[in-house]
């Protein structure tokens, strides 16, 4: 019994010792580079201190010499000798000060020149909403958490890129969910071409690849409803898991913007479009692209016009299962300057019901938003949005939010400081087919970046 206890005690001691070694040893290894650098700086500092000591010794010698000379001088000569000694010391002190200042500068410069390898910076966004409705789930009212969004871009090298957007979000039941909203690895061939693989925001229109999950970025309180993310009321495949080639070709007076992508075909699960992060069952892809032109000089500076399209076979989780070929053609316009921020997008759907065979279904959705940045303390905006979605199309009828509506909204953004925005929006929404009715919203939002 005692032997067993001793064995257990010895094992525990070995375990603790091993753990301590790991705790002490692993960080030491990780900090080896830092240690070298610190040692080098310490060496420079030691040299500098040595120099100061030499100068101080020289000051002491001078003072001693002057003190020794004074008694041999006449009383009359002694009087001016004292100020002379006093004059020599401040000169050397000034030199020492100069040396010390120089050392301080070297230290500062060395510290700030150091490569940024002190770890992965943590940045992100968060927002809290309040009003007579939840801006994303209008059946809820009061105060609402929305996003806590962490944005990580670990450095892999000059050409290899990584981007992760990790989001803690509250759903319509008040439950907090965690999602890797974007997880992309990329290779930058040149300024004109970058290839990403992973989960990305599907490149269509403007909003979906310009505003992302950080609500602070958006001057408006929220995206147009049909362009919201899949779990917040949007009806588009906002995320795609696949490959995405993107870039810009610069020319005189403007640049051509292009995107091409292919990924897993989405699936409607429990009434929401799911991007099938682990692959889909039928193996059909979504593919599409976007082409735009941005004026960077002249009368049209700030204007971007573009077109986009995608095609995908999207099924659902119903029995019997529906399968629809979703074909979207769109266009967008953006006028973005120091004074104005106007955006408009239109999406035309020509969907084909495959299982069951229901033929073609045409739907459309569009919005226009006008913003004015000319007022120094606020950015007012107005938006009109409309979705006319065919309820005999399984792609829309299978979605919880796949109904037709129109909404008018006015709002404003006020920056409390450069990291905190306060936004308000008044909106009137009409549902026009699956449900018929209307409601008014008075919404507020505090959005931050960090």
């Amino acid at each position: 019994m005692r032997d067993t206890m001793l064995i257990h005690t010895a094992r525990a001691a070995r375990g603790i010792g091993l753990a301590m070694l790991l705790v002490i040893g692993i960080p030491s290894l990780a900090r080896a580079d830092d240690a070298d650098r610190i040692a080098q700086l310490q060496k420079q500092l030691d040299q500098s201190i040595k120099m100061i000591d030499q100068l101080a010794a020289r000051v002491r010698d001078l003072e001693a010499k002057q003190a020794g000379a004074a008694p041999t001088a006449t009383a009359a000569a002694a009087a001016p000798a004292a100020p002379a000694a006093g004059a020599a010391a401040p000169a050397d002190v000034a030199r020492i000060d100069a040396v010390e200042q120089k050392i301080a500068q070297i230290e500062t410069a060395n510290a700030t020149r150091r490569p940024d390898d002190t770890g992965l910076p943590m940045h992100g966004f968060a927002d809290i909403n309040f009003g007579n409705h939840n801006p994303f789930f209008p059946e809820e009212k009061g105060f609402a958490l929305n996003n806590l969004d962490f944005y990580l871009t670990p450095k892999l090298g000059d050409k290899l890129l990584a981007l992760f957007e990790l989001n803690f979000e509250v759903d319509d039941t008040g439950t907090v969910g965690v999602d890797i909203e974007r997880g992309q690895l990329g290779y930058q061939f040149s300024d004109e071409a970058t290839l990403w693989v992973g989960r990305f925001h599907t490149p269509y229109g403007y909003v979906n690849t310009a505003l992302h999950h950080g609500v602070w970025i958006n001057d408006a309180l929220r995206r147009p409803k049909f362009l919201m993310f899949e779990d917040q009321g949007g009806v588009m495949p906002a995320h795609t898991v696949g490959a995405w080639l993107t870039g810009a070709l610069r020319g005189d007076g403007g640049k051509v913007l292009y995107d091409a992508f292919v990924g897993n075909g989405q699936q409607i699960i429990e009434g929401l479009v799911d991007m099938r992060s682990g692959g889909n069952a039928h193996g059909k892809p979504i593919y599409g692209g976007r082409l735009g032109y941005q004026w960077t000089s002249g009368q049209l500076e700030g204007l971007t016009l573009g077109v986009d399209a995608f095609d995908s076979r999207i099924d659902d989780d119903q029995l019997p299962q529906n399968l629809t070929e979703v074909r979207m053609y769109g266009a967008y316009a953006v006028y973005d300057t120091d004074r104005w921020e106007h955006t408009a997008e239109v999406y035309l759907f020509d969907n084909l019901g495959i299982v069951p065979s229901t033929g073609n279904h045409r739907s459309k959705a569009y919005y226009a938003q006008f913003g004015y940045r000319g007022v120094p303390w606020m950015i007012p905006y107005a938006r009109y949005e409309r979705a006319l979605l065919d309820q005999t199309d399984a792609y829309f009828s299978g979605q919880i939010s796949g109904y037709s509506y129109y909404r008018s909204a006015v709002g404003a953004r006020h920056d409390l400081n450069q990291r905190t925005a306060l936004k308000f929006e008044l909106a009137n929404t009409h549902y026009t087919d699956r449900d018929v009715g209307q409601f008014n919203e008075v919404l507020g939002q505090i959005a931050i970046r960090f």
């Binding site: 200042q101 500062t108 700030t112 020149r113 940045h123 810009a248 409390l416 400081n417 450069q418």
Partner: protein, 191 residues
């Protein structure tokens, strides 16, 4: 006559919103140089290999002997940078009124999307023709090093550059002598 509770609540709500909008809840400071940088950085310690908006090589040492106001910006910014540029314009006007001179240096945050032509167009569209205003772009490494040395913290969120309104001032000896940030009120008075 007393207000009904709903009206009192509404009035309080309006007062709170007014207070928030007024910015009174936010701290403001006068120009107070950061002790860690001021006196510790000289212009000649910074990266020197830049291109100006005429695509000519430009070294910050070329400005030795002159007072320099330096900021960082990105040409596509429509929220923060216009404020910074307006503040620099005010500084320029103030110096003109006092009969003093300085060079204004604007270094681009985003070399991927900004080159000499971009800044040349920026200068034209923002009506900044003066020769003592220099719009510079450089390599990734030099840009990041300059930002680190001068305390310009920034990060990229896709095509957006997250940053703040900030400027530093070097005196004629090339020593960093002042730093203006987003909470600094009165850049002009502080120079």
């Amino acid at each position: 006559m007393q207000c009904p509770p709903q009206r009192r609540t509404a009035a309080r709500f309006v007062l709170v919103i007014g207070w928030l909008l007024s910015g009174a809840c936010l701290p403001a400071t006068n120009a107070s140089p950061a002790p860690g940088l001021v006196g510790g950085i000289r212009l000649d310690m910074l990266p020197q290999g830049w291109r100006d908006d005429r695509n000519q090589a430009f070294a910050l040492n070329d400005l030795a002997g002159r007072r320099v106001v330096l900021t960082m910006a990105y040409a596509n910014c429509h929220r923060i940078c216009p404020m910074t540029i307006n503040a620099l314009k005010d500084l320029q006007s103030s110096l003109d009124a006092r009969g003093e001179q300085a060079d204004f240096v604007i270094v681009g945050y985003d070399p991927d999307n900004e080159d000499a032509a971009t800044w040349h167009q920026y200068r034209r569209s923002h009506h900044l023709p003066r020769a003592n205003w220099h719009f510079l772009s450089g390599s990734h490494d030099d840009t990041e090093q300059l930002a680190r040395q001068l305390g310009f913290s920034f990060w990229k969120y896709d095509e957006h550059v997250m940053h703040e309104s900030r400027a530093v001032v070097f005196d004629a000896r090339g020593l960093l002598t002042a730093e203006f940030g987003p909470d600094t009120r009165g850049w002009t008075a502080a120079l």
